[in-house]
């Protein structure tokens, strides 16, 4: 039977998150000490060898991203590291757990990443609603300065790095890296055209590494124990562990760290099985910008590469479970309403499209003479939106829509 393997979450519940001494006793900053003894390029090579994929949702190789940033614009006066702590994907709360319970872990990962790309300045962009995460991260930063782990000449290495916290203010879209940079600069959260990517022109127009909290929280282990040790868990294409946040109709909803590649069935079991013993009906993987699956996917491996092959997504690691009796149309309507609320309005297809999709979903729910045609129209519209919107928000509604239609078309189109 599958058990949790806590690597990133190893200290959760065992240390006082507001005590740096506690964290250090538990091994915090060992990875940083090791990193500072080698060249920045060696750190990047180790991460590339580990094949750590970004844990924010897109799954881009983290080492590669660092390499791009480290080689970008050699004459630029400054490089930045930006931590994406704007966790807002529905059903996702893995970063919150790290920030609230072991903030030094991701702070250490951030300093290592800054060293790797030679960035002397970092920003941690935390969503405004995460008060506890904000407070504990600020405490961690203050204590790290006192111990010489931040600031000038870190641990006598000659490397300088300053880090400060920036607050979000209730915009899901700002979790998208380029939009986050706009917000970080003190502007409205409208997305930027890409390219250029942040590695070239990021914060304040300078090369910037943007990484998710969980991604950074994996780095200390890789540096302290080596890429080979890291790859001992997980699959060939998706090495390491992943924190899944399982919610909905399970008995013990919560956060679970397991090797990449466990099955959906195993995750449900880990979360105490289906609540009230009801039969499984569907899972929404990766949150609102994710995909619905049905029972035919229960035995599939949960990894970036495998789910991609099956037309599904792992995304942020959100797993929302639905039981027999839960109408798929309600969940779909909720996701579409979410996108309508969060669309920034910059791209017309997204602004009008997200509103139109909510109206259609209401018709799908409340009655329409030809639901089959309506559903097809919704998929067509969301496909056009995806092709004509700048940022992932406009590109997202097609994901839950298409997957819901492919697994649950009969239920969605039946005439009541």
């Amino acid at each position: 039977m599958i058990q949790e393997t806590r690597r990133v979450l190893k200290n959760i519940g065992k240390i006082n998150p507001e005590s740096i001494d506690d964290a250090i006793r538990a091994g915090a900053y060992d990875g940083l000490k090791k990193a500072l003894l080698v060249q920045p390029a060696d750190v990047i090579n180790e991460l590339m060898g580990a094949d750590l994929h970004g844990r924010g949702g897109a799954g881009f190789p983290a080492g590669m991203k660092q390499k791009f940033v480290s080689e970008s614009c050699m004459h630029c006066p400054q490089r930045y590291v930006v931590v994406n702590a704007d966790e807002g994907e529905p059903g996702t709360f893995k970063d919150r757990i790290i920030m609230e319970q072991d903030p030094h872990l991701y702070l250490e990962g951030t300093i290592i990443a800054a060293y790797a790309v030679q960035a002397s300045k970092g920003f941690i962009y935390i969503r405004g609603e995460y008060h506890d995460s904000i407070r504990k991260t600020r405490v961690a930063i203050k204590d790290a300065y006192k111990k010489g782990l931040l600031g000038k000449n870190i641990l006598g290495s000659g490397f300088d790095c300053d880090i400060e916290v920036k607050l979000g203010a209730g915009s899901y879209l700002c979790g998208e890296e380029l939009t986050m940079l706009e917000s970080l600069e003190g502007k409205r959260g409208n997305p930027r055209i890409k390219p250029p990517f942040p590695a070239e022109k990021g914060a304040f127009g300078l090369p910037t590494l943007v990484n998710n909290v969980e991604t950074l929280a994996n780095i200390p282990f890789i540096i302290a124990h080596g890429k080979a040790e890291f790859r001992k868990l997980g699959t060939e294409g998706s090495p390491g562990t992943k924190i899944f946040t399982i919610s909905g109709r399970v008995n013990r909803a919560g956060h679970y760290e397991v090797p990449m590649g466990v099955t959906l069935q195993e995750l449900i079991h880990l979360a105490g099985g289906m609540s009230e013993g009801k039969p499984f009906k569907a899972a929404l993987l990766g949150g609102a910008a994710g995909t619905f699956v049905d029972a035919s996917m229960l035995e599939e491996q949960m990894s970036y590469d495998n789910l991609k092959k099956k037309g599904a997504t792992l995304g942020s690691g959100a797993v929302i479970i639905f039981a027999e009796g839960d109408p798929v149309v309600e969940a779909l309507h909720n996701c579409l309403r979410f996108f309508r609320h969060e669309s920034c309005g910059k791209c017309v297809p997204c602004r009008t499209g997200t509103a139109q999709l909510v109206k259609s979903a209401e018709q799908l729910r409340n009655g329409h003479p030809d639901k089959k045609a309506l559903l097809e129209q919704m998929i067509r519209e969301s496909t056009i939106m995806a092709a004509t919107s700048l940022c992932p928000l406009g590109q997202s509604p097609v994901l839950p829509l298409k997957s819901a239609a492919s697994y649950f078309s009969r239920e969605l189109t039946e005439i009541k």
């Binding site: 996702t92 209730g170 915009s171 929404l284 996701c335």
Partner: protein, 164 residues
């Protein structure tokens, strides 16, 4: 739940930050948190614009873009009900209805005594214990009618004591 900055004037708050545009969101948060009615006054926006050397329009544009900022007075306590797909599955709709009944207002309104404003929120990241609400900085989970009544009662009680 008193704010340590409560008695500071706008200028004092703003000047804790360097006069650089990237501090705008942090400044607006600090100003709003400092105001007993949880909102950004026109004066506050003007002062911020002047301090950062920005046109008033860009400060206004930012303040109106983000959901957490308000340009109209609100209650001392902002009650945010999570309406995410997970909370909805766990009857967030009922939580909204119960709160509207208990507070005697509809969503978006403020109670006549200026104590509570009822708002909706996207996912608060508390899905392990849905349904959830956030009251100012505090999160409450696993809610049912009894628990909600208890929370509202408790806040009203603590406020009375504070006013004495």
């Amino acid at each position: 739940m008193t704010n340590p900055l409560q008695l500071m004037c706008t200028q004092q708050i703003i000047e804790q930050f360097a006069p650089e545009q990237h501090n705008l969101l942090n400044i607006l948060h600090a100003l709003q948190d400092n105001h007993p009615q949880n909102y950004l006054t026109e004066q506050a926006l003007d002062d911020t614009a002047r301090y950062l050397g920005l046109p008033k329009s860009s400060v206004y544009g930012v303040a109106t873009y983000y959901t957490m900022f308000s340009l109209v007075p609100r209650g001392r306590y902002i009650v945010r009900v999570c309406t995410s797909v997970v909370c909805e599955l766990h009857k967030a709709g009922r939580v909204i209805g119960s709160l509207e009944n208990m507070l005697g207002i509809t969503t978006g309104e403020t109670t006549p005594d200026g104590m509570f404003t009822l708002e909706l929120s996207e996912c608060l990241g508390q899905c392990q214990d849905a349904p959830s609400v956030m009251v100012n900085e505090k999160v409450y989970n696993n809610l049912d009618d009894n628990r909600l009544a208890e929370i509202i009662h408790q806040i009203r009680g603590s406020q009375k004591t504070a006013n004495r």
